[in-house]
């Protein structure tokens, strides 16, 4: 498959009074056409900042992409002018935000918000816009689209609003959709509806998707590939199956052991990692996970591992994954 997006050695930093926060600290990954890539990690690991950097939505001051390249269809997005970037946002790359409550404008009707991108990017007339808007709402499963176009966001439920967000993202038939925690604010049955809808529409239209989430179950169900992030870095990457069934990084392993599972009988003890993620303003040269890591050695104190191939299109950034491997094999 052709590469759609290539991110290389991306560094995004925030210059605050408390020091320089290295929110994204050198991440490299690709997204192929039509592929769904998940980025998982806990709060503050840089997954959202990484995605916002792609669309150049990091507010300056205090934030800035200080290094790296983001190639989208062979154009480096970081080198484009603001006007050129505006042509890409919402047109070739669309975004779905977490909070459907705050990401829609409360004083504009659904119809107006939905047709804005169509007018701006495709130069459609009002009549064409209306027809397309009705079609889009139908596509995302909203009944009576004509009436809904007149309504305002507060008339709709959370699930409905997220459907409108998806319709807006799909409006210009983008090549890539970035979905930042698209279902976190929703109930589980509605979450399932929305994710099924996103999967169906992206497959049908051949749209690639970057889905950012902290929910490991959502990743297992919908993603082709997974990037696990910790303290601004990708610590493990591979196909969903590889990463879940044969984790090679102590953090991934710990995450998987921390989630209670609905298909496991009660009474099993969870095995969480002690401690907390590090302060991103005070990172040193060592591996940021080492204070919480069972496998840490002296080498981890002084040098930070980079992603290494471990076979099967699977990479991990750990000095001691041989030890982890041994333990895993002994356990099974």
């Amino acid at each position: 498959m052709a590469k759609l997006l290539e991110i290389e050695d991306l560094h995004t930093q925030f210059f605050t009074s408390a020091g320089t926060v290295r929110a994204v600290d050198g991440i490299t990954y690709n997204v192929d056409e039509g592929e769904t890539v998940a980025i998982v990690g806990e709060s503050g690991c840089g997954k959202s900042v990484g995605a916002m950097s792609i669309l150049r939505l990091i507010p300056w001051p205090p934030g800035k992409v200080v290094k790296g390249s983001i190639k989208f269809q062979d154009k480096d997005l970081l080198k484009l002018s603001d006007a050129e970037m505006r042509k890409i946002r919402g047109n070739d790359i669309a975004m779905i935000f977490q909070e459907p409550m705050t990401s829609l404008n409360p004083v504009l009707s659904i119809g107006l918000q939905l047709t804005e991108t169509l007018q701006h990017h495709l130069g459609m007339t009002e009549k064409e816009c209306h027809a397309r808007a009705v079609e889009l709402l139908g596509m995302v499963g909203i009944s009576e689209p004509d009436r809904r176009l007149e309504q305002y966001p507060h008339h709709l439920s959370g699930g409905m609003r997220q459907r409108v967000m998806i319709a807006m993202a799909l409006a210009c038939e983008p090549k890539l959709i970035i979905a930042d925690e698209p279902t976190t604010a929703l109930d589980v049955t509605i979450q399932a509806q929305i994710l099924e809808l996103m999967k169906e529409l992206t497959r049908k239209m051949g749209v690639a998707m970057i889905i950012i989430t902290h929910n490991l179950g959502v990743v297992a169900r919908y993603a082709d590939r997974v990037n696990v992030m910790y303290a601004g870095k990708i610590v493990e990457t591979g196909t969903a199956e590889e990463v879940y069934l044969r984790p090679k990084h102590p953090y991934t392993l710990a995450l998987l052991k921390s989630v209670p599972r609905i298909d496991h009988p009660r009474g099993q003890k969870l095995d969480p990692v002690d401690g907390q993620p590090p302060d991103l303003a005070r990172l040193d040269d060592g591996c940021p996970f080492r204070p919480r890591c069972r496998f840490a050695t002296d080498k981890c104190e002084t040098s930070n591992p980079t992603l290494e191939d471990v076979g099967n299109n699977h990479q991990t950034a750990c000095w001691n994954n041989d030890n982890l491997d041994k333990e895993q094999r002994a356990a099974s």
């Binding site: 699930g159 589980v188 099924e196 490991l216 879940y244 069934l245 609905i262 095995d271 969480p272």
Partner: protein
């Protein structure tokens, strides 16, 4: 209050009679919607909880699950006497809490504690952690000597896995997980018997959530606590609860032992709910059907007639919109409100 309690409801959960701690019967909580400033007349009722009955044994953890607006939090608030129920009984060790005045309620306020969802808004930002933990002991005159109280504060911090130096810190200096531990320590300060955990781990990240779940389990074993564990996260509920009740639109639709409910769900809503939860294992996920429940939760102001679930149900029959299904025991200890199963 007697007419509203039906026979079946009273019998719910009778299996382990004898050491029942909490006995909720026919609980209803309707919130009026009023219109007008001068005439202020009631135009409708939000039926947040509409006839719910269950029992909790001593030392047991009962899970209360359901989606937003199903009435699970309101049920918890009624037990805590933070709401004044419209109808029904809440017996705590045989005493009807609804009949007590605020003075008689004081000893029960000590025995019944709560852990809230949001560790950011449930701690007073102007008080140090030490003061937050000491205040309830002072108010309830549990420990009157200041030095003994400070010692107890340090004990509580230790029990909840926090360093003693946190006693001199303010909530904003702590992370979400640490704050939630403070919330737990504050509940423990009163030597409670019963704790309502209202989405106590929902706001936390996966690795921190697991730490707090383990802490709650350890404390339960150590102090013989009884929990009402309110959550929308079914995986967490399966992990921590002995028995589980599923609510939908103010009604209880299913109640059973934890493993029984998750392995053999009977009510169509429970089935749909379990089907919707993604499992963090691609090899399991690829083999699942992913059948999706249609529609959204109706408004509790004007709930559907008969069985409230019938508009979204795939086994609904002609009778469902007309008859309110009775909550019946289909297997020992397994209660369901559905006529079609």
């Amino acid at each position: 209050m007697s007419a509203a309690i039906d026979e079946n409801a009273v019998a719910a959960g009778t299996a382990e009679l004898g050491n029942t701690l909490i006995d909720v019967q026919g609980l209803k909580m309707h919130f009026p919607i009023t219109e007008g400033i001068v005439m202020n007349k009631v135009v409708a009722q939000v039926k947040a909880v509409d006839g719910v009955s269950f029992r909790i044994q001593k030392g047991e953890t009962l899970g209360l699950v359901g989606e937003s607006g199903c009435g699970k939090t309101t049920t918890g608030r009624c037990i805590l006497q933070l709401e004044n129920p419209t109808d029904g009984q809440i017996l705590y060790d045989g005493v009807d809490l609804n009949t007590l005045n605020s003075k008689q309620m004081v000893p029960f306020r000590q025995k019944i504690q709560v852990i809230f969802q949001d560790p950011f808004s449930s701690l007073n930002p102007r008080m140090k952690i030490g003061e937050i933990l000491a205040e309830p002991m002072k108010v309830h005159k549990i420990i009157t000597d200041k030095r003994a109280r400070d010692e107890r504060v340090l004990d509580l911090l230790k029990v909840c896995g926090l360093s003693p130096r946190f006693a001199d810190r303010y909530p904003h200096e702590m992370s979400g997980g640490q704050r939630q531990r403070v919330g737990i320590a504050r509940a423990l300060a009163m030597d409670p018997e019963f704790i309502v955990c209202d989405e106590a781990v929902s706001a936390l990240d996966v690795s921190i959530q697991a730490q707090v779940i383990n802490l709650l389990e350890d404390l339960r074993d150590e102090f013989g606590l009884t929990y009402l564990f309110i959550s929308h996260d079914l995986s967490v509920v399966r992990h921590i609860c002995h028995r589980v009740a599923v609510m939908y639109l103010g009604n209880m639709v299913e109640l059973a032992d934890c493993d029984e409910l998750f392995d053999n769900p009977i009510h169509p809503y429970t089935k749909a709910l379990l089907e919707a939860v993604p499992i963090p294992d691609p090899s399991v996920e690829s083999g699942r059907a992913h059948k999706i429940i249609k529609g959204e939760i109706p408004s509790p102001i004007n709930p559907p007639s008969g069985c409230v679930f019938h508009p979204r149900c795939d086994v609904a029959a002609d009778g469902c919109p007309k008859v309110v299904p009775e909550f019946r025991e289909v297997k020992p200890g397994h209660w369901v409100a559905c006529t079609e199963v």
